[in-house]
Symmetry: C2
Subunit: 259 residues, 2 copies
């Protein structure tokens, strides 16, 4: 099982969109895929028409168990997405209370790793959507991932935010004792604006080793897909945006076999 | 002095863009304007080319003082923006540590109100940019504001998030003992996409009393302005986006004189 985290401390850069699109494409290819929503705002959960405020069971239950997660708890949290091979563990807004509850206890950075270990033979890929804030939930996502995908909007402010994400990554890497490979993914690229073109060039110069050499263009079909509650490739597999994510997926899969 | 907070728990909906654009327009009209950055990510601070990781003084200092803020501390935090009548109190990334530090101590929800009271004769308007997370910083913004501006992207996921923002508003209103008037501002509107058109209609039906009856269109000039580090009206006062914010500002100023 491969675990990919999708994270960036900047808001609105395409984390949820990347998670659902890549997850949908992997499921289209025949893999069994789990999407895990660790954002208390629950965009990924709302995307599939579930209500993060009203759910009886969610990722929150994993944290309530903390050190000893019952063997069949993760499986009991799986929800349907309308795609045969794509399942979801939803977020609930109660996740927002965890920061204050557990910060005193320590050792809660590995809850998700322990939970995913119980699903190891059930899925081929797990994609984790994180909130735009450094805290316990993001730490859990980074601690359990084997690869980190960092969507970065091609605009000035988002690049400043990326430096911060890198510092967070360095911090987590020291705690993990092994490297966490990452890929910077330029998103919301709009070739009509100078700011987008120049930002992409700046990104490429600053992160030459770990940036994907293409980019995700602005594509209005993503909004249509989120309204329809379907992975974008299910709504329109030929759209520009889905095609770009397909090229990204090939790049990520090649990187994976390298090590 | 009028204090406006700009907040929404959803990321990337145009909070920082609204804060800097409205602030710039108010300064263009001859008002003395303060922008206050309460987002630990510091987008507003980076916008004006300051580094939220490297600043010696910032909004963080106000929280360190807590209950007794020295009289001349807020004034000492003011930074230039390149616009004569527009000043900034920047954010530092250290703001992200406040949640854990102070949650035990209670009573820290009024730090910003106390600090702004010390600047009461210095500015005509204060606009507060908040992070996309419910916590101490957002509570401070809502507790000190006389009006709340809620940017909402015209797409499905953002509307779900608005319900959550409303619940937060109700919670804060109970603690404030008086109403906090608010205006929902549809942003990033793209008339070419069905999802945008339908979302705007849904927003209008759901919040008929408190929604601004127009919307902010997608305008690539905003990215250019953030790269240039200037309020959008300074870069191009005739752009579609700036024009729309001008119409919004007229609406907000009319609402203000009503009560
Ligand atoms: N390539 C794209 N083209 C057009 N719109 C996009 C694209 N990617 C994302 N979007 C839209 O931009 C908005 C923000 O995207 P998304 O919610 O995925 O970002 P996020 O980083 O997950 O935000 P948050 O920080 O709130 O979690 C959504 O409305 C989404 O539909
Ligand atoms: N009307 C608009 N047209 C085009 N781009 C816009 C518009 N409003 C905002 N943007 C762009 O969208 C991105 C997100 O905007 P902004 O940073 O203001 O959102 P935010 O709500 O403050 O995000 P965060 O949750 O990270 O604080 C920025 O790149 C900004 O330049
Ligand atoms: Mg998201
Ligand atoms: Mg912002």
């Amino acid at each position: 099982m491969h675990v990919w985290a999708v994270a960036n401390q900047k808001g609105g850069v395409g984390k949820t969109t990347s998670t659902v699109t890549l997850g949908g494409l992997l499921a289209d290819q025949g893999h069994q895929v789990l999407l895990l929503d660790l954002d208390p705002h629950g965009s990924l959960t709302s995307y599939f028409k579930y209500d993060p405020d009203g759910l009886q069971k969610s990722a929150y239950d994993l944290f309530q168990q903390g050190k000893n997660i019952p063997k069949d708890l993760p499986e009991s949290l799986l929800m349907d997405t309308g795609h045969d091979r794509l399942k979801l563990i939803p977020a609930s807004t109660a996740l927002a209370t965890l920061e204050r509850q557990v910060s005193a206890q320590g050792g809660m950075g590995l809850v998700i790793s322990r939970a995913l270990a119980l699903l190891w033979n059930r899925f081929d890929y797990v994609l984790i959507d994180s909130p735009p804030v450094l805290g316990l939930l993001m730490i859990n996502a980074l601690a359990s991932a084997q690869h980190l995908i960092i969507p970065v909007q091609t605009e000035f402010l988002a690049i400043k935010g990326l430096e911060r994400m890198m510092r967070t990554l360095n911090m987590v890497t020291r705690a993990r004792k092994n490297e966490l490979p990452y890929t910077v993914v330029p998103t919301l690229y709009d070739r009509r604006t100078q700011a987008s073109v120049q930002s992409l060039r700046l990104l490429r110069n600053t992160y030459p080793e770990n940036i994907w050499n293409s980019m995700i263009p602005v594509d209005t079909k993503f909004r249509d897909a989120s309204m329809a509650g379907m992975p974008p490739s299910m709504l329109d597999s030929q759209s520009r945006g889905v095609h770009a994510y397909n090229v990204l997926l090939k790049h990520l899969l090649e990187k994976q076999t390298d090590h």
